[in-house]
């Protein structure tokens, strides 16, 4: 009898434990996987998004996207180009190393290393200097107004851990450099990487020793990339997943009509645009002068895009067509620039023939098929629209793992890309990283030789301008030049749409970040 009672008790306890653990496991799927676990090896928003679950930065965004202390508790500017940060005491890394100023100095040095792919996000920082064990000075190249915004993206790694695993130098996904840190992570953040199988599954467990008081109730996160829209939605509806972010636009109605599931959506910061080749020749037409160097051709290509129909048919009315490069919430946005060049195929043909391309020309159009919302569909549609004005677009779609390095190497004529102005949430990001010519720390995502002297000047001037009004004027001037010169062709701000079980509560942000340290699964 006693034995049976014990057995039943044990069984009950087991079952209870089982249900409890299960109810706090969040199973999440996105379109693609993280590019790497190494914070300095990439320049991808989604990858950074996942890293923030594991790595803390000196400062971070709170629930209202305001900047708040994280590993730094306070800071002050002690000179035009020097900021002093007081560090949090008593913090330990996941593998037990205590956190101190050496870790910050090593992490900053690693991020700014010439081999780092992420260095372009920190154009202003010269170096970090240790003042004492819990005080660090960041030395800037000049006065800089957006240091804190940038720091939200700078993951702090453990110096002894990097030394132990020979990873003090960063990896780089564009150059295929990998280190121990590419496949392992050891941060101070709210979740610990339990296992990482690239392109298959990454499992996180809650960090019980996190320095902050958790507001989430998760014990475990299972992340699985699922490329196919239909499979992802099927997995959600059949109960294999709790969260699908992003959710395919064509399925939103069906998901929200299904009992037990909900859809949350809002417009995001992310501009979808076409980058162009500014070199002397196009890849599609070797040996001939690049037609894109003629402003009329670029204007023609913009006028040839029927953005209204794209919004209606492909984006299902959820995106916002735009004529400028930043979202309304981003500093530097100018409503006067926001109207796209209208769809006008006749005008497009006229512009092309005025430029001497009445018979059109050939151009490559490269896209990912698993990164941006409906990316492949957008490319085929734009290729079709260009073909109608005589520009023969050779549409090439491929997976993000092949596409992004291709863009980085400059092996494209026109390519579909996205820019959300993160982490700065300021126009200076698109101006100095996408528009400015590639020199020093500028132009990290300007692989095809785009160059405008005034934009280069503004990128450097706005970066050190502390008078906010003057700074905004400069940013707006650069955005106007980009629009007038058709430096890149903006298409729309893509929506963030997530689908999840009704009992899941995750706040949504316009930067598209999934911040699961705010997530709650109700019983």
């Amino acid at each position: 009898m006693i034995r049976r009672g014990l057995l039943i008790g044990a069984l009950a306890a087991l079952m209870l434990a089982g249900t409890q653990a299960k109810s706090e496991t969040l199973r999440w799927s996105s379109v693609g996987d993280v590019a790497t676990l190494d914070p300095a090896a990439h320049n991808e928003t989604f990858t950074n998004n996942l890293h923030l679950h594991v790595y803390d930065s000196l400062v971070r965004r709170d629930r209202n996207m305001k900047i708040e202390p994280a590993l730094a508790t306070s800071w002050e500017r002690i000179g035009a180009d020097r900021w002093r940060f007081k560090l949090r005491r008593g913090v330990t890394f996941h593998e037990g190393e205590p956190f101190n100023a050496d870790d910050v100095v090593a992490s900053v040095a690693r991020m700014l290393d010439p081999g780092s792919r992420g260095a372009g996000n920190f154009p202003s920082i010269a170096r970090a200097e240790k003042f004492d064990d819990f005080t660090v000075d960041l030395v800037l190249k000049g006065p800089y107004p957006l240091l804190l915004n940038d720091l939200c993206w700078l993951s702090i790694m453990s110096k002894p851990w990097m030394e132990k695993h020979d990873s003090l130098k960063p990896g780089n996904i564009a150059k295929n450099v990998t280190t121990y840190a590419s496949t392992h992570a050891n941060g101070t953040g709210p979740f610990i990487v339990e296992s990482y199988q690239p392109d298959s599954k990454t499992v996180f467990v809650s960090n019980k020793k996190w320095w902050d008081k958790p507001t989430h109730n998760l014990t475990r996160i299972e992340f699985r990339p699922i490329k196919s829209d239909a499979t992802r939605v099927a997995a959600l509806l059949s109960g294999e997943l709790d969260l699908v972010a992003p959710a395919p636009l064509q399925d939103l109605d069906r998901i929200s009509a299904t009992q037990g599931f909900k859809v949350v959506q809002e417009p995001s910061f992310r501009l979808i645009f076409l980058g162009l080749n500014w070199r002397p020749e196009l890849l599609a037409m070797p040996g001939q002068k690049n037609p894109l160097l003629d402003l009329k051709v670029r204007q023609g290509l913009w006028h040839a895009i029927d953005i209204e129909t794209i919004q209606k048919r492909i984006m299902r009315g959820k995106a916002k067509a735009t004529g400028t490069l930043v979202a309304p919430q981003i500093a530097g946005y100018d409503p006067k620039l926001s109207v796209p060049y209208g769809y006008d195929p006749e005008k497009a043909k006229k512009l092309l023939s005025d430029a001497g391309f009445a018979k059109g020309f050939k151009i490559d159009l490269n896209c990912s098929n698993d990164r941006f919302i409906a990316d492949e569909q957008l490319c085929v549609a734009i290729g079709s629209m260009w073909a109608k004005v005589g520009v023969e677009a050779n549409v090439k779609t491929e997976t993000r793992a092949a596409f992004f390095p291709r863009v980085d190497r400059g092996e494209t004529d026109a390519y579909l890309y996205g820019w959300a102005n993160l982490p700065a949430m300021d126009s200076i990001s698109v101006i100095s990283v996408v528009l400015a010519s590639r020199k020093d720390a500028y132009g990290g995502n300007n692989p095809n030789g785009l160059s405008n002297a005034r934009i280069d000047e503004i990128a450097r001037a706005a970066a050190v301008e502390l008078d906010e009004d003057k700074r905004i004027k400069l940013l707006q001037e650069a955005l106007k030049i980009a629009r007038d010169q058709v430096s890149i062709i903006p298409l729309h701000l893509q929506p963030v749409a997530w689908a999840m079980r009704s009992n899941l509560d995750v706040p949504q942000f316009p930067d598209e970040y999934v911040r699961l340290w705010f997530a709650n699964l109700k019983k």
Partner: protein, 301 residues
């Protein structure tokens, strides 16, 4: 040759085999004549309009008489896309079979006729290849091809890569069949006789052995055509086959699959039906041919 032909004509062909043959033949004809038959050319990206996207088929209440089977997510006429898709599937299937036949026959003949170490080498390579699943090997080959030759990412190269990738796996079956038949034939008296005369090996192989093993090769080829098309469709469905601008049936199914849950199911369904019936028909004909030429079953037929 004449005797062979009259033997074919005197065969009693079951009705469903005949039906399958006629269907496969008709579809092949439509595919070959696609530029003249299809209402639109879906590979010409200027020929479709995004504003026409996702129109339902006529019999489902679609209101546009231009599109009998409706349109896909880009506004492509689905009927035309299927006709051209079947054309691409057949071209790649036939190309892969041809490639595999040539490669397999050559190696099989060498292995079967000469024997010895060269036989051992060829057959061990064949065993290794056979131990890879078709899809895995095809994925590997297309991946390596794309990495080695950047030009291979061009859409025009996609069919050639697919033919190479599928053929590289399938030649093994031909090689085995041909090797076995060659060994059987080589041991027969007529081959021994011409050997004694001192005819060079090349002549013995091409004049005497090849004509006598062609029947079994053709049977393998018919059965293989179906699997080759299926492999192509699978690769395209996985996104490593034909690009969306030159859709094969597999690419159309992949595109349609994204819309299965949103009520726009016809984009995937009609290409799928076409693919299934094409492969079924080819299989039925192939199976019947195989039984026909199997000496152990011939008694019963």
């Amino acid at each position: 040759m004449k005797a062979l032909a009259s033997r074919y004509l005197s065969l009693k062909i079951p009705v469903f085999v005949l039906a399958a043959g006629v269907f496969a033949g008709a579809l092949t004809l439509v595919a070959v004549l696609a530029p003249f038959i299809a209402p639109y050319n879906p590979t010409n990206i200027s020929s479709f309009n995004l504003a026409d996207s996702e129109i339902a088929p006529l019999f489902l209440g679609g209101d546009d008489p231009r599109f009998v089977l409706g349109t896909d997510n880009q506004g492509r006429d689905l009927l035309s896309a299927i006709i051209y898709g079947a054309r691409i599937s057949l071209i790649i299937g036939a190309g892969a079979v041809l490639f595999a036949t040539l490669l397999g026959m050559t190696l099989g003949l060498i292995a079967g006729y000469f024997g010895g170490w060269i036989d051992a080498v060829i057959m061990r390579v064949a065993d290794v290849i056979l131990s890879f699943p078709t899809i895995l090997l095809a994925l590997l080959i297309s991946g390596i091809a794309r990495a080695l030759f950047p030009a291979a990412a061009e859409p025009e190269w996609a069919p050639i890569i697919l033919i190479g990738a599928i053929g590289t796996h399938d030649w093994v079956q031909y090689a085995r069949t041909v090797r076995a038949s060659t060994m059987v034939e080589s041991a027969k008296d007529y081959v021994r006789a011409v050997r004694v005369i001192g005819l060079p090996s090349r002549q013995i192989i091409f004049r005497h052995i090849v004509p006598n093993i062609m029947a079994s090769v053709l049977v393998v080829a018919t059965v293989n055509l179906a699997t080759a098309m299926l492999t192509e469709a699978t690769l395209s469905f996985l996104g490593v086959g034909m690009p969306p601008t030159y859709p094969s049936l597999g690419t159309l199914i992949r595109i349609g699959n994204e819309f299965m849950f949103s009520g726009i199911w016809w984009i995937a369904l009609f290409p799928a039906i076409t693919l299934v019936s094409l492969i079924l028909a080819t299989n039925v004909v192939g199976d019947w041919l195989r039984d026909r030429f199997n000496p152990k079953l011939r008694v019963r037929l």
